[in-house]
Symmetry: C2
Subunit: 477 residues, 2 copies
Amino acid sequence: MPTMQSGAMETEILSPDHDPIHVIDLIRKKRDGQALDAPELKFLVDGAASGAIPLEQLAAWLMAAWLRGLSVDETRALTLAMRDSGERFSPLRLGKKAVDKHSSGGVGDKTSILVAPLAAACGCVVPMISGRALGHTGGTLDKLEAIPGYRTELSLSEFEAVLARCGASIIGQTPELAPADRVLYALRDRTGTVENPGLICASILSKKLAAGLDGLVLDVKTGSGAFLRTYEDSAYLAALMVSTAEAAGTRAVALLTDMDQPLGCAAGNWIELVESVELLRGARPAERPETNFDLRELALILAGWMVHLGGQALTPEAGYTRAEQALMDGSALRIFFEMIEAQGGDASVFDERARFHKPGATQVVEAWRSGYIAEMDTTAVGWAVQRLGAGREKADEPVDPHAGIRFHARRGCCVEAGRPLATLYATTAAKLAEPVALLRRAIHFSEAPPHAGALVSRIFARQTAEEYLRKRMGAGQ
Amino acid sequence: MPTMQSGAMETEILSPDHDPIHVIDLIRKKRDGQALDAPELKFLVDGAASGAIPLEQLAAWLMAAWLRGLSVDETRALTLAMRDSGERFSPLRLGKKAVDKHSSGGVGDKTSILVAPLAAACGCVVPMISGRALGHTGGTLDKLEAIPGYRTELSLSEFEAVLARCGASIIGQTPELAPADRVLYALRDRTGTVENPGLICASILSKKLAAGLDGLVLDVKTGSGAFLRTYEDSAYLAALMVSTAEAAGTRAVALLTDMDQPLGCAAGNWIELVESVELLRGARPAERPETNFDLRELALILAGWMVHLGGQALTPEAGYTRAEQALMDGSALRIFFEMIEAQGGDASVFDERARFHKPGATQVVEAWRSGYIAEMDTTAVGWAVQRLGAGREKADEPVDPHAGIRFHARRGCCVEAGRPLATLYATTAAKLAEPVALLRRAIHFSEAPPHAGALVSRIFARQTAEEYLRKRMGAGQ
């Protein structure tokens, strides 16, 4: 299909009488495959934040950017413009280095709940601004809100007070920080322009950079439950985020981690919290302790990097050791409970956790044959969790804290027919059928043990990220 | 830059609980390069007309369509959905075949004013719904509104009454016919999605087909003043429109015509009207009669095709002869004056035309060297006309009926230095400088006479249009 270029004539003639920048010219420029410069991107972002640019013009630009792509320079400029669209939080006066972790979203991924107190226990401050469940992925805020009284909406001064007291605070997006992202993210969600590396990078980093971080650890998922479809897409996003954060003066590292099955042995809001607290207590599941080995390991690796970037360990390995110590000596758990109380939550709920868990309906799915669990379509598992009531399909839908799936076996396990594979908790019995069917379709058995993938398959720091981007650009990207 | 595909999973799982069609799925489908089917396009078009689909989602779809292109089938389905988004006008009861002409927009193009009464004088009925000046191109409605009292906004029953009385009526777009086009056209204008052949075709034809035409003559401009940049772009649009109109049951033909210089010897609202009336009076300019030979010729060719498609002549050549007769015997002029009066206008203004023309300021541009006029950048000439006050940069701006340019020489003329090339009429003296500069930059001289292009370079009827589209598709389009 041919496309027709609009003449440069019009723009040249129109320009003298008008403002130096016109939205329509920026849309056309991106549409025609050119890169916008920093002032042009700032104009769009400020117009998004203030409402001066109508949503339909922003939507046209977003679709053009999605299809034409954003260059590395554009991504950097967009990120900075979005970071600067509102206030900046400054953790400087807290007297410690501020570090954070971001994950690209997974199933059963409760590492935020673990790494925030772990890194704080090792002498960092962790001002963590988290998100909610959407689609097949869970959200840290929804998990924390399963704790009666826990407030995720704090003012920036309340946030600072919790950080000063506990060293860690996990809250939701604030209206003050990166307001352009709220407008653009909601718009991308409605206009089919979510899955673009430059737009994803700018959305994530603008909020993180506005929080004034010294160091940021990025956990980019790969595999059947990852948001991005291919390994190379995940690698590109990881390298792009590291390069962009470093260019903005924040130390950053990205780990490509396995999401070929849910992380740990629970996916759901309350049951993930319980799994996290057990882990911070140093306990392991009595039945099949291997079911959350991956969760413990990943949390310690991520926390180790946070501790390293926060200047509390010379290497990430030394950071791992310090974090493991904070896990074993109970100091991280203490910080977690302090944080809960500082944010209005009732941590005593974990003492009566069995009584507190009140799912509307329960069903056990048993192995329908004997063999090795070879594959789990983790995106489908995530949708099963959502359909049970634990997640949301659209923003602003309520979630059920009690719904979810507890896994009794994981990939690579050899199970006998009739053994329980998973227990499903739903809001109502009527909500069980579809998730059960989804889960049964998602799990595949084999005669031989499957290939075990690495938990962390690749790490990008500044230099390796730059090299990767250069190589990729050289290959015509 | 890599783009990342959103999984089919989500859509498949989301679908069962919901309406069969989701806007977001249609946006993604187009974004990913697939063609939408007729029910999907109807859903979008109806949502645009009713306001049920937010503008930002329509904008995202439009940009995806602009960049990915619309297939011939999509263009047909989109055109029909837009045609059916409102009422249909039925000229059937007028007892004559209804024909119309549409031009892709030019500078000095007043053929609509000529062909409507010419075809009506030859026994057709011409229900012509016209547009306004925008950018470098003029608009028939603005020209007619230079006549005191002339109403371009008629109800459909008033329109029918004028047609029954005069055989021709020229009005503006009505709220009843193809309302989706009003929404989508305004949106394309703001979102950089105007210049796409499928979208242009659907916009033009939806209105024309809703007017219940038996035959439609399409005048697609080529050359330096054309809306589309290349000859092949114009050819593709021409073939696409003929094929689409024929598939919808309206006989259609498209002529690719020369816009390498303004058509006739006047560009501006009132002065174009005067040129048209002179021509319908059978008169030619006393000074340099060749200056509007092209206008007379093109009007008769177009009218000849209209008369042929309207069943009043066996061939377009016979139609030309009939139209020329209607011009020479004054019957077309009589119809034009009747139409003016039927629509509230005062045709006596043409008797005192010199007194009526009251430009705010006048300047003659003289040849700055001797030689042949080799080239005219006709888009730049059009912008000069607009800047004098005759046109508009944005929809809804007022226009000055008295502003414009009268040309004393045309491409191919040999002129001596100091001879007047053109007279510029502006709203105010301050508005003269930029258009004068534009005009001087737009005209280029040569020592030898330039190559004279054909007035009509190509004609597409149903069969030739289909062949062209097939060949183009075969070449990977």
